[in-house]
Amino acid sequence: MLKDLVNPTNFNLLVGKLGDVLTKALDQPLGYAINWGRIWSLWPVHLETACCSVEFGAASGPRYDVERFGIIEAFGSLRQCDLVVVQGTVTRKMAPRLRMVYDQMPDPKYVIAMGACAITGGLYIDSYNVLPGVDGIIPVDVYVPGCPPRPETLIQGCMLLQEKIKRSKIR
């Protein structure tokens, strides 16, 4: 009976319809699974930009343990990381290097701008060597305010990033 159904005329049609049904059925769970994997293993690049790096270091400590969210500072190559936390002031000398680091990371990648200096230049807005905010050179996903932000604020920023990733579509 199957032989009568599947004949050369409607074979292509059948395969096409089967493909549609499969994509519709698997798209949402597959997307959910991929996003779940990305959320719980955000690895930041070890790039300390300025003084907020001390609070980032404290956030990796035992009291504000940020490793339970999967955020382990990858002390290895930056080709395996998917998060850049711009910690503090970005100076004119550091800006091309930051852009180079961002370009070398593979997709998908996210950026958190931490501290007032990374958002708008902060306390150093009138200095001659400071960029007024980092979103002129790299696209920022989450802004975390503070000078320096408390480690709890940084963790809340990471959780907002996780919400954002959950809502994104998989290409």
């Binding site: 000398k93 009138d126 200095s127 001659y128 060597n129």
Partner: protein
């Protein structure tokens, strides 16, 4: 909250109870009494080089300052290191005085090896012309001044003859403006 307030302490230099007792007790109440030990340091310099070369600006408890012309600075520095016993430079900096058309380069010298001198800072200063500012380097005498001199070059434009690297240090590589610590360099918006 008690009504009698604790007596405010006088200036910190008075407390020298655990330093070598040969250092005289210093009084800051009257400025006309110059401290003995610091005075002896400047007297040695003036007797060796004369009044025309070494000009004493101030003598305070723990701090003395002299002014020398730029071409004599190497001799005076060697004398300070060999005979007086100062062995390193705490900092080297420059100040821009556009009203006098001069830049003042000042070396703060101190000593680690000599007990009596370890609390003294001798400020050796010189003034150069703003438009043609070259002064011989002191890194053969005080090696600790090397990076400080390089920073003074890039921040103020003072060229140190004999320094191996009069180059950019802290500023970005593509800095194309005038040296930032000069007074005509205005910060944006002010």
């Amino acid at each position: 909250m008690s009504s009698d307030q604790s007596k405010p302490q006088t200036a910190p230099e008075q407390k020298k109870s655990n330093i070598d007792s040969t250092q005289s007790s210093i009084s800051k109440k009257t400025e006309s009494i110059t401290p003995e030990f610091e005075g002896s340091l400047t007297n040695q310099l003036v007797t060796r080089f004369g009044d025309k070369i070494v000009k004493v600006i101030y003598v305070r408890p723990g701090r003395t300052k002299i002014l020398v012309p730029p071409n004599e600075i190497v001799q005076v520095a060697s004398f300070i290191r060999d005979s007086l016993g100062f062995d390193h430079a705490e900092s080297v900096s420059g100040t821009d005085y556009p009203n006098d058309n001069q830049i003042e380069v000042i070396y703060h010298l101190s000593s680690y090896s000599d007990e009596k001198l370890s609390s003294q800072i001798l400020a050796l200063s010189t003034r150069v012309d703003r438009n043609q500012s070259t002064i011989p380097t002191l890194i053969d005498i005080f090696k600790s001044a090397e990076y400080h001199e390089r920073e003074t070059f890039e921040m103020l434009g003072v060229y140190f003859e004999g320094h191996p690297r009069n180059e950019r240090f802290l500023l970005p590589e593509d800095w194309a403006d005038i040296p930032p610590l000069r007074k005509e360099f205005r910060i944006k918006g002010r």
